[in-house]
Amino acid sequence: MSYLHLAILAPLLFSIFIPFFYKIFRRIHTGWFVLPLPIILFIYFLTFIPITSNQKTIIESLNWIPSLGINFTAKVDGLGLLFALLITGIGALVVLYSIYYLAKDKEKLNTFYVYLLLFMGAMLGVVLSDNLIVMYAFWELTSFSSFLLIGYWYERDKSRYGAQKSMLITVFGGLAMLCGIILLYIMTGTFSITEIVPQSNEIFHHALFIPALLCILLGAFTKSAQFPFYIWLPDAMEAPTPVSAYLHSATMVKAGIYLVARFTPVFGESSVWFWLVAGVGMITLIWGSVFAVKQTDLKSILAFSTVSQLGLIMSLLGVGAAALHYEALDDNIFTVATTAAIFHLINHATFKGSLFMAAGIIDHETGTRDIHKLGGLMHVMPITFTISMIGAFSMAGLPPFNGFLSKEMFFTAMVHVTEMDIFNLETWGVLFPVIAWFASVFTFIYCMILVFKTFMGKYQPEKLGKKPHEAPIGMLISPIILVSLVIIFGLFPNLLSDSLISPAMAAVLPSLLQVGGVFEVHITFWHGLTIELFMTMGVIIMGLILYKTYPKWKKIYKAIPEKLSINGFYDGTIERSQSVSNKLMNMNMNGSIRSYLAYIFAFLIIILSTTLIWKNAFKLDTSNVSSIGVYEVVLAIFVMVGSISILFVKSRMTSIILLGAVGYTVSLFYVLFRAPDLALTQLVIETISVALFLVCFYHLPKLRKFETRLTFKLTNALISFGVGAVVTAIALSAHSNKLFSSISQYYVENTYEEAAGKNMVNVILVDFRGFDTLFEITVLAIAALGIYSMIKLRLNRGKEG
């Protein structure tokens, strides 16, 4: 157990104590007790930067289930460290923000911080685990704690709906990922990513390569809200705003990004990977940005913009993986996509976190998040306005903020795609810069809507729930820190390049590095008059035009029918699967014993007869049969007629007597077939049985005066005929296929010598196989006791128990 393990588990362990803090220190906001932990962890993870920037990794292992190859191996490399810093850093800011956002006397703070710490620990576990099974365990813990956080206000219907939806979708993806992990284990024999990466060549030519790739990607796409699995994210906005800021913009939705980045060295060389990651990312990018414009709720706009930005990062990672095809690093222009992906990952976490917090402030101080009701808040809330503006302009990709830099690099990467000569990119590659440009225009539009519809325009105090005023300073600290990062990273981007981006790239594209080599990352503001710059200008001009004319063309959105949406499909699937399974069960399980018996017998017939036919097992061999005598024929006719006529008689009495007749005939059979003991027993028992039948059924109160004949039912007749036929067929085949002779010669020889008896049947019953008899006696005893208690024990319904 090293400090590293302790750091990962610290939030989980600390969460145990939160309820105690909450109960004991009622007067202090519980968040203050939580706050030091992410700060300490952030500082602790900062100490790793010198190590990872020298391209070294730290691996600490702790045995968990060594016999299955599952060990808690913590690994810190550039990629893991970047995420760990995001998680702890933004975690600290979010905790600080939540202290002012959640009132200590109205909310259940103890559960909130327990869930939040669970989530933080789980996220740290996901990004710092080297063992895939351990990573999967933490992965599911993130889904679970996110479920709890979304449903934090569980008394609201929408919260529960959103929580359930996100749970179903992310757990579906998580299980697919588990399949992928197992397939990888089958291919490589290890769960450790560090050991899997060197084997990527063998994996590439393995038959299970594509299934494993698809399963892993399914996990990544569902978690990172990619098309068409993004639908849970807008509904997850029912969570408290600190949760949305933390989980649904900065950390959890990037777990899928992390997964894709982490598996790029394994799968990246495949064209399937390229087209799925880059293609789905592109679709998500344009889809999210187009639909963000339509939203009227601040958090919904932010949710769709998160979807769109995640698509952007995802497509950059896909394009970056194509760099693996170009060996020489020196003139490898395609690595810029990976640089852009990692840089934008950091940028997105900063500006999206601040935007969510600003939206939370607006909600908190005005009582609404609807942009139709908001407006003219610039003078009332100047600080929030500044924060929102910087965040939104950065998201739109305007200089001098960090979003501008990453958008320029994004365009650069997308323009370079057209120069690639692999995967049919000569023809299709031109789509990438075109989609990227259009998506950026829409991004620009919704960023403008976000700022100007909220803060500019007419001030409408009568529509607001409260009298708006500027937020308390404590609530503003976190977004201010985030927007100052937006500006700092915008002005001095190379602060990050050597310390974080280059080591993270080394983790994503290890095969491009020589031993001891480093990625030279240099982000500049000004590249000269390049095509990217003109694209950005085009985005701004086109975006401004479209923003100004938005009221005229927004009717286009109404042309898209609601029923065809993915949400409609999801709701329909859930509803239909429930109603179909309900109907199916109501149809099958109708409560009638007759139908169940019919199922059982039909199944028996089908299984046995198909086996007989399929194995060609039916055989009739008459060489081994004994002769037929007159007596036996007469008795056989008796039994057959007797048993069939039971089906046709009307009265109970007759059928009981007919059953007795069959029983006595059977005992006569025993006589003919030389079984004296059987004949005796059968006679006696048949007598008693018939007497019992008479006692029970003849002397009963006349319930139904009219005894009815058995009504004929074709299905029943078919089933019963089938059972009889199958039994006969099996009996004949079994008799014709005697494989070995009986062991009974032993009994014949030893009954007198060993057991001192002459009646072989009796000696077998009490001597050779006496145990059977013992338990047969037990059966009788139990039956007798049971009958006695059934008759004697009369608990009335009133005093049952």
Partner: protein, 113 residues
């Protein structure tokens, strides 16, 4: 003879299954009775018929019939008797308590829905 007995057993099984699929509790129990007769005869038939003297050493015969199936059947007869009598009393009691022997009226589903 075994062929004939197999057919007899098949007819016993058919009649038994048809009765068990009926509505009345009495007929179901009669069906189980027929089914056990069929099963016992089947065991005896499969052991081989009329191949020798009754399994008593006092007969001093050269060949005896197989004693093992007879022992098995004897056990089975007793057990099926125990179970049948238990069922009979159970049916009798359910008559008394519930006032019907119609299996369709004894369905449990409706009142709990």
């Amino acid at each position: 003879m075994e062929v004939l007995m197999s057919i007899v057993v098949g007819i016993l099984f058919s009649a038994a299954v048809y009765l068990m699929l009926s509505k009345s509790l009495l007929r179901i129990i009669i069906g189980t009775g027929l089914l056990s007769h069929g099963a016992h005869l089947l065991i005896l038939t499969m052991g081989g018929l009329k191949t020798g003297a009754a399994p008593l050493l006092g007969e001093h015969a050269k060949v005896y019939v197989d004693p093992l199936p007879q022992a098995l059947i004897l056990t089975a007869i007793v057990i099926s008797f125990g179970v049948t009598s238990f069922f009979l009393v159970l049916a009798y009691r359910s008559y008394q308590e519930l006032g019907t022997d119609d299996m369709d009226q004894l369905r449990g589903n409706d009142q709990y829905e």
